[in-house]
């Protein structure tokens, strides 16, 4: 046995004995071994006095002085102040209420624990003190003075704020959600102000905010803030983050991970503040468990505030969180039921907190001020930015896409007018997004010009720049798909707006393929590109590819968590639009209705997106033979647009023409007269130059005149519109078919049937090649043509056309009223050529349908009945 082992064993035996026994015991055990005996006796002496290290805890080593006996400090002089009473203590030290000896002013004095003033520290302290002295803000407790006590402890004198800590204040006054948000706005402004002064707080938490009454919230404890000054450029602080004090429950992910702390940490902590002030609980996991610091650091998702308030508080949360109240009690303290509270938080507030508390600092609000601005927008009912990154982007693109969609939807609505064209062409005419386009070209030009200016001047500079960027982008895309992908996405958007759809489609495909593997599936730019590509494919007639693309986008938008309502609504709209273009009205309607539900929860119901869907639903209703529903939808869209955009806005005028058109179809000509005239007047007034909008108004007015029995005047207007179309989109484009159809009807009404048939054949040809044989636009033109051929006595040709159109139309309108004229036409034709047995089913069905609907059905019913009668008489 070694000496050490012996000593230990002998000591263990001796220590339990009383002194007399111990002496005998040692005598016996250490017989003749003086060294052993001396050792054991030294151990016994050590045991009696204890050990200065082992009787402490090791962490004490790292905090230089032992905590002072605070009671002893009372009455002590610190600078010109005398300590009166202890106000509280925290990680940073002890705070006293103190009084200035000379003038009696009351201040808060903070003695910083473990703050021995080495010379280095003094220098730093001196610096911080100067910065703190600069902070003058109504919501920051004012810094008054600082110094070092005789024993070398650093002290700060701060404004003494009388009031309650934030959470107590809110609950004591039972403040509602809006009032609570207003308080956090004030705190956020104080933080933003400090950031401007290069100061990060790092320890924002409810207990650091005292609400004075009056005076509002005051932020305490900027004393621990670290200066940003060293590394302003990168926005990062280069000090040892482990050394900085923090409160784990309120720490940002990067604080827990020990990474660089920036202003983004304060933004995160403001997010936690909001979360707790509004829900009464700290951020929790979706199943209601508290979100521990390390879970936060590893980017675990937290429950949306609105979801959390609807769940009961769990025991585990009570233990870790700040509350032991039930969900009902928490809501009552906010003047709401849990359901009401949930509704108040759902949407904006969820989105704002989500953006403030993103795990990656770069994804949060860019500054505390941006967060404050969004909170204010929310309180004032304006659209918030947290719905972006894509809110603005997507809404803008929704508007742009709508311009295409209205055109195409109209085109397939079995309507003779070409309201459609208006918007289709606008999209090509680069009238949109002037500021965005400018911004883009600035960026693009800078990009290109730094590599040598394009040798082009004037208008072609832009084109040259675009070309150059596209070339560069394509070359570098594989090296940096994310960076160049985003730039090329903009380029493709510009190309599409300029009408270079094919190039845009090719570019989108390339960029999407390059970006897919490198960015998250729900990356907003990626989704936006895929959506645009889908719509472009569909409008070009590539229905399968386009619809597939739109389905993928929709699936991803649905999977977003938390749901981004604006994005999802945009994707639903795109998918619905694609379906509508492709002729699947049922699915389109379902998707539109879902989008409307989402938009309804947004500020201003999602703005113009909402009315656009109303209009599209109106076209669907109209096409299905439900003019009443169509009218109601158009009227509601019109009212919204008048109120928001004014009477002469493009959007308002478009709703007006849509309404006029449905009234014409119902033969409510008196009402249609005023509306169609007003629409045309508005267009001519806004811009007399050829435009799709003007052409559209001309065609609607022309239809009215034809219906009113003035086909000559109608023809003139329709031909004016046709010329505009040809000029704007080129003669081959399928939208020219609209104008051709209206001209044809006007011509036919003047009994120039051969000429009318020729015109209508032109419409059929354009529709067929653009949209195929089963497209509603094709069918509509076929039917008109069949009517002319019939009247021209070209029976075989007319029959062939009718027989092609009837089954397609039947499936489109699901057997409703619009089928009547066609059934009647075919039946009459068959009856007059002696095929009564063949004719009878068509005629009976036509008569029944016509009876069921008002408006223009009567004439067809008449025709069908008389043909039927002839047949019966003849048979």
């Amino acid at each position: 046995m070694s000496d050490d082992a012996r000593a230990l064993a002998v000591f263990a035996g001796a220590v339990e004995l009383d002194p007399a026994e111990r002496s005998r015991y040692l005598e016996a055990e250490c017989a003749g071994d003086a060294a052993l005996r001396a050792r054991v006796e030294a151990m016994l002496r050590a045991d009696a006095v204890g050990h200065e290290v082992l009787d402490q805890t090791p962490g004490a080593l790292f905090a230089d002085p032992r905590p002072p006996r605070h009671s002893d400090r009372l009455g002590l002089r610190v600078g010109p102040y005398r300590l009166v009473s202890e106000l509280g203590r925290g990680g940073m030290g002890v705070v006293y209420l103190a009084q200035r000896s000379d003038v009696g002013a009351r201040v808060a004095i903070k003695l910083l624990a473990g703050s021995h003033a080495t010379s280095e520290r003094r220098a730093r302290f001196e610096y911080e003190r100067r910065v703190l002295a600069r902070l003058e803000h109504p919501h920051i407790a004012r810094f008054l003075d600082a110094g070092v006590t005789d024993d070398g402890t650093l002290w700060l004198a701060l404004e003494h704020v009388e009031g309650r800590p934030l959470l107590d204040h809110c609950d004591a006054h039972r403040l509602g959600v809006r009032q609570r948000i207003a308080l956090i706005e004030e705190v956020g402004e104080a933080v933003a102000y400090a950031h401007l002064n290069l100061l990060v707080h790092r320890d924002l938490k409810p207990s650091n905010i005292i609400v004075a009454d009056p005076g509002g919230p005051k932020l305490l404890d900027f004393g621990i803030a670290k200066l940003l000054a060293e590394d302003v450029a990168t926005g990062a602080i280069t000090q040892d983050p482990m050394a900085s004090p923090m409160t784990p429950e309120y720490a940002s992910p990067e604080q827990v991970r020990g990474e660089a702390i920036t202003t983004a940490s304060d933004v995160y902590q403001l997010g936690i503040l909001l979360y707790e002030v509004l829900t009464g609980r700290r951020p929790a996991t979706p199943d209601g468990e508290p979100l521990r610091p390390f879970a936060r650091a590893s980017c675990k998702r937290f429950a949306r505030p609105s979801d959390l308030v609807a769940t009961e508080v769990r025991p585990s949360q009570v233990a870790a969180g700040p509350t032991d109240r039930t969900a009902a009690e928490l809501s009552a303290l906010r003047q709401a039921s849990p359901r009401q509270l949930r509704r108040q938080l759902a949407g904006d507030v969820d989105a704002i907190i989500d953006k403030a508390m993103r795990c990656t600092p770069g994804e949060r609000y860019g500054s505390a001020q941006e967060l404050v601005d969004d909170l204010r927008r929310h309180r004032k009912g304006r659209p918030i930015h947290a719905r972006a990154p894509s809110w603005a982007y997507r809404t803008a693109s929704l508007v742009r896409r709508h311009t295409v969609s209205v055109a195409l939807t109209t085109a397939i609505a079995l309507l003779i007018t070409a309201s459609a064209l208006l918007f289709f062409l606008q999209a090509r005419a680069v009238t949109l997004q002037r500021d965005r386009a400018e911004r883009v070209s600035q960026v693009l030009e800078r990009l290109v010009l730094t590599r040598g200016p394009a040798r082009a001047t004037g208008d072609s500079v832009r084109a040259a720049v675009l070309r150059e960027v596209m070339t560069q982008g394509r070359t570098n895309l594989s090296d940096d798909p994310e960076g160049w992908g985003r730039i090329l996405a903009i380029v493709a958007g510009v190309l599409e707006e300029e009408g270079q759809t094919d190039t845009a489609i090719t570019l989108w495909r390339e960029v999407i393929a390059a970006m897919q593997p490198r960015v998250p599936a729900d990356d907003p730019v990626l989704l936006d590109m895929m959506g645009r590509l889908g719509v472009a494919l569909v409008t070009r007639g590539e229905f399968d590819a386009g619809l597939r693309q739109l389905e993928v986008v929709l699936r991803r938008a649905r999977a977003l968590s938390p749901v981004r309502s604006a994005d999802l609504a945009g994707s639903l709209y795109d998918a619905g639009f694609g379906r509508q273009i492709a002729g699947d009205d049922g699915t389109a309607r379902r998707l539109y209705l879902e989008a409307l539900g989402l938009l309804a929860s947004l500020p201003d119901s999602g703005g113009s997106s909402y009315d656009r869907i109303l209009l599209n639903l109106g076209y669907i209703a109209d096409r299905k033979g439900d003019p009443d529903a169509a009218e109601a939808l158009f009227r509601s869209a019109l009212a919204r647009r008048r109120a928001r955009d004014g009477a002469e806005h493009d959007r308002t005028l478009n709703a007006l023409t849509s309404l006029a058109r449905v009234l014409i179809e119902q033969e409510r000509l008196d009402e249609a007269d005023g509306l169609s005239a007003a629409a045309l007047r508005g267009r001519r007034h806004v811009s007399p130059a050829p435009s799709i909008g003007l052409a559209d108004a001309l065609l609607v007015r022309a239809r009215y005149l034809v219906a009113r029995g003035a086909p000559g005047e109608g023809e003139a207007l329709a031909r004016e519109a046709l010329a505009m179309h040809r000029q704007l989109v080129g003669d081959g484009h399928f939208v020219v078919g609209f104008a051709l159809g209206v001209v044809a009807d006007a011509v036919a009404a003047q009994n120039r049937l051969a000429e009318a048939a020729e015109l209508q054949r032109g419409a059929v040809g354009r529709y067929r090649s653009a949209a195929g044989n089963r497209h509603p636009g094709t069918v509509r033109a076929l039917i008109q043509l069949a009517g002319y051929e019939h009247r021209l006595g070209r029976i075989a040709e007319a029959e062939r056309l009718y027989r092609e159109a009837v089954p397609v139309l039947d499936s489109i309108v699901e057997g409703r009223a619009p089928l009547a004229p066609v059934l009647s036409g075919l039946g009459t034709l068959l009856a007059r050529t002696g095929r009564c047995a063949d004719a009878a089913p068509y005629l009976r069905r036509a008569a029944a349908l016509s009876g069921a609907s008002g408006g223009g059905g009567k004439a067809w019913a008449e025709e069908a009945r008389s043909s039927l009668a002839e047949c019966t008489a003849g048979g």
Binding site: L8, D47, Q56, G59, A60, L61, A63, P245, A251, R292
Partner: protein, 191 residues
Amino acid sequence: MAHGPTDTVTRLLEAAARGDRPALDRLFELVYPELRRLANRVRRGRAGETLSATALAHEAYLKLVGGQPVAWRGRAHFLAVAARAMRQVLVDAARRQLARKRGGGARRDVSLDDGGVPAPMRSDQLVALDEALTRLAETDPRRAAVVEHRFFAGLTAEETAAVLRVSIATVERDWRTARAWLSVELAEGEA
């Protein structure tokens, strides 16, 4: 059969020992509160300026999972390894502090006697203690383990007894004996 938290820790420890990354992460979440609890006791509720409780727990965890694969044997074993990890973290921190002082040339250790409070301990004492404890472990592993658990990991006598599978009385006797031995050892070192 329902798994209690201890079972879970044990299973995760085993999985982690096999190199299962998700198990390691999950383990972190489970042991983190435990580590923090230990760290809090060690630092005695004060915000030390070098080591916050979180930092301590964090570092201890890294020591735990970042080192050699360990064949885990349940919670007691975990606590034992955690105690070792805490010791390493603390001693490393002390060594860093010493290095900084030497590097900075500020030889003078702060010694403030504020209202009769004992002078602060010094990092070199902790380093010396660590070395002495290593010597003790060569002779008397059990008593050294008691010191490690009680002093470095902040476990109570009861917890230490449970981890080491001995009686509480034994833990207390061992503690007293080891403390006396270390005191003498350290005093000789300084002399």
